[in-house]
């Protein structure tokens, strides 16, 4: 019997060599379009809670205290002088600089005090100014002493440690007084 050989059909296959490329393309697309949101903000360390009956008052000399008062109308009082919020930083910088070489107990203490009705945004602006003053003094110090910018310093390096020691950021958040009725 004569067998008629059937013509062999080619295997039906989906071309899969480009699959890897497509998946990589997708990966790339998502990597590029994804925004990893970083939390930014003004950091602060609150004082420990001590019950009122155990509280003791420590007198601070007027020389090392910079009191920033913000009332509900947005007026700012820095050491009994009325100034605008953008001026806080400029006023504080020379005072911080003058105390770089003083011991720890004589450094400047910035106290920020608000009313209960003060706008939060104003408070943040004032706090921002204080922080900015400290940062610019630190920057100056780092540039003049090490010739490096503050951002280039390693967070755990000796230089950074010294800067932190010489120019500590001491911000005291006073409790607001209840509004007089």
């Amino acid at each position: 019997m004569i067998q008629i050989k059937k013509k062999k059909k080619p295997d039906p296959e989906i071309p899969s060599s480009s699959m890897a490329d497509i998946s990589f393309l997708l990966l790339l697309f998502f990597m590029v379009s994804t925004v990893i949101d970083v939390d930014t903000g003004i950091g602060l360390t609150l004082p420990e809670f001590i019950p009122p009956e155990q509280q003791t008052t420590v007198p601070i000399s007027k020389d090392r205290l910079a009191a920033v008062l913000i009332n509900e109308n947005g007026d700012v009082l820095l050491n009994n002088e009325i100034i605008a919020i953008p001026q806080i930083s400029k006023t504080l910088i020379p005072r911080i600089e003058s105390k770089i070489d003083l011991p720890d107990t004589k450094k400047l203490v910035v106290s920020v005090k608000t009313d209960r009705k003060t706008n939060y945004n104003l408070y943040i602006q004032a706090l921002d100014q204080v922080k900015e003053a400290y940062f610019s003094v630190r920057e100056q110090y780092s540039q003049s002493k090490y010739g490096k910018r503050l951002v280039d310093l390693n967070d755990k390096s000796e230089e950074m440690k010294e800067i932190r020691e010489k120019i500590p950021i001491t911000i005291s958040i006073a409790e607001p007084e209840a509004i007089k009725k």
Binding site: K9, S16, S23, L27, G41, G43, P47, E48, N121, D128
Partner: protein, 137 residues
């Protein structure tokens, strides 16, 4: 005479070379769509802006407190009353000793509510806080 079943000669295997790619794509899809611990923010707020801001490197340590335009306070997934904050935050601090509390406060709110929360945080000894702000350009 033997009878043999007639079988077609074509191979019937499924191509498996692209299997890893398909799996890869699925993995990608899930990686992209999954956000770790999605929190529904129930309050409306607009953050203030500031210049001298810092980044929080360690996102795992952060715990959020929202204060909305209308003075509503949200911790975790639900709106909370002021006097419950201490308890919640204390249990957070026990499980995560160096927790950073990020305060996401609407810029038009009063300092009163912020101070109240700060007092509660002090009582719960969560002392590291961060006022969440946007970068002022």
């Amino acid at each position: 005479m033997k009878f043999e079943k007639k079988r077609s000669n074509t191979k019937t295997s499924i191509p498996t070379a692209s299997m890893p790619d398909i799996v890869f794509m699925l993995l990608l899809f899930f990686m992209v769509t999954t956000t770790l611990r999605e929190v529904d923010v129930l309050v409306q707020f607009r953050l203030p802006e500031a210049k001298a801001i810092e980044k929080i490197e360690n996102k795992r340590l952060i715990s959020y407190i929202w204060i909305g335009q209308d003075g509503k306070i949200q911790v975790n997934d639900s709106l909370t009353k002021l006097d419950e904050i201490q308890k919640i935050m204390y249990s957070k601090r026990v499980s995560l000793p160096n927790v950073i509390v990020s305060l996401r406060v609407d810029k038009n709110s009063d300092m009163g509510v912020v101070t109240d929360i700060q007092q509660e945080l002090r009582k719960a000894s969560c002392l590291r806080i961060n006022y969440s702000t946007l970068l002022k350009i």
